[in-house]
């Protein structure tokens, strides 16, 4: 009996193994890139989120590929702003000290952040950090993970495709970058500041202020951040700042800039 079952098992395994081997061998391509969130879908999702966002609070366009506010030109030029590190930057009237990256590679800066920082270099550091999230594809990564989880849950619950978009939309305001993502964005930001010959002490000062105020990262630098400012994080920024070669300051009057932005946020772009 056992021999007979063994023979049949061998037959079955040989049959399916052969199918696997033959199909694998005769497949046309070695490998295909199958991104579940293609570029155009990602951009559309970005437009949807911005539309949704602007329903609840006013958004003032600061810069995109064809426009930028004159007062921002110095910062954006030094950070080598273009389509690859951000699609658009918006200012929003909100007292919270916050800036974050949305799907579609749009960055929103709260007026509370403009009020909190004390120099253009600090603001440039925050922007460089957010550019890091865009450049390293962190939002896309998060979306993919969420998309996978939501799809699985919906398959299990029998509601496949039902409220996926709504689920994703809700997720945007509750998701968090991983500690590794934050670190990667920090390093990219530091690199970007150095490339623009900007002092990395702006980033150090900003983080030290967070530490002094005992503020936590979720409310500070990114809506996607979940982790408090760790000693480790402050340490590597401090080390980097000490070795920093870029030492020039921005050619801008911070007080004028701050006043202009706060007025803009308060009265809109009218």
């Amino acid at each position: 009996m056992r021999k007979s079952i063994g023979r049949e098992l061998l037959l079955l395994l040989t049959f399916f193994g052969s199918i696997w081997a033959v199909v694998s061998y005769f497949s046309e391509d070695e490998a295909e890139d199958c991104d579940v969130i293609p570029e155009d879908l990602y951009d559309k999702l970005g437009d949807f989120v911005i539309d949704d966002f602007s329903q609840s609070s006013s958004l003032i366009l600061i810069a995109n590929d064809s426009f930028s506010l004159e007062s921002w030109n110095e910062i954006l030029h030094r950070l080598d702003f273009d389509n690859s590190n951000c699609r658009a930057i918006y200012l929003s009237r909100n007292p919270e000290v916050n800036a974050y990256t949305l799907p579609g590679d749009n960055i929103v800066v709260y007026s509370g952040l403009i009020e909190f920082v004390e120099s253009g270099e600090e603001l440039a550091a925050v922007m460089a950090h957010e550019f890091g999230h865009v450049k390293k594809g962190h939002v896309r990564e998060l979306l993919k993970e969420r998309f996978a989880m939501t799809s699985l849950i919906m398959i299990v619950s029998g509601d496949a495709g039902g409220n996926l978009l709504l689920e994703l939309s809700d997720f945007l305001f509750t998701a968090a970058f991983s500690r590794d993502n934050e670190k990667e964005a920090d390093y990219y930001g530091l690199e970007l500041l150095e490339r623009g010959n900007l002092s990395t002490r702006g980033m150090l000062r900003f983080f030290e202020k967070l530490e002094e105020e005992k503020m936590e990262m979720p409310e500070i630098i990114s809506a996607f951040s979940s982790h408090p400012l760790s000693a480790d994080r402050l340490e590597y920024i401090r080390t980097h700042a000490a070795k920093s070669v870029g030492d020039s300051l921005l050619n801008m009057n911070w007080n004028d800039f701050q006043k202009e932005m706060l007025d803009l946020a308060a009265h809109g772009d009218q």
């Binding site: 009996m1 007979s4 079952i5 049949e8 098992l9 037959l11 079955l12 399916f16 199918i19 696997w20 081997a21 033959v22 199909v23 694998s24 061998y25 497949s27 391509d29 070695e30 490998a31 295909e32 890139d33 199958c34 991104d35 579940v36 993919k144 993970e145 998309f147 996978a148 799809s151 699985l152 398959i155 299990v156 619950s157 029998g158 496949a160």
Partner: protein, 166 residues
Amino acid sequence: MKDLGEEKYVSIPQPEDVPVREREDAMGAYLMMFAALAAGLPLPIINLIASLVYYFIHKDKGPFIKFHLLQSLYSQLITSGMNVVFVFWTVRIFFFESTMVTDYYKGYVAVVVLANLLYFIFSIIAAVRARQGRFFYFLVFGKWAFHQAFSIRNADVKVHVNKTPF
């Protein structure tokens, strides 16, 4: 009682010996794969749970039913296992570390599709045969299920002898 080589097996019931109720219960074992679909739940693991529940309800109703229950359950265990691997592999490819569809993946998809197709066709055939009071043996699972359902274990052959009080 028959002795098939080393193993001892209970006599196989012939179609006319199997009551209608047993035939229907045996057929039901194969129809459990549709249970989850009827509930609107396409994930294969739900079918397996339904089959397990069905097995525990009917397993003591005679060797004919038990054979069909086990054959259905074993084949479903393997196909569900393959489906679960397929789902996780797909999720991993499309959502996590890699976005590459490799040749091995394509080969595995072909194997899973074929396995599910064969499982579906043979389950329908087996369900019809069971309704007729007959047997249909799947490769591997058929023999193993038969052995489990019809073999006579030591406990089964223990004969009680009534004795006088003196």
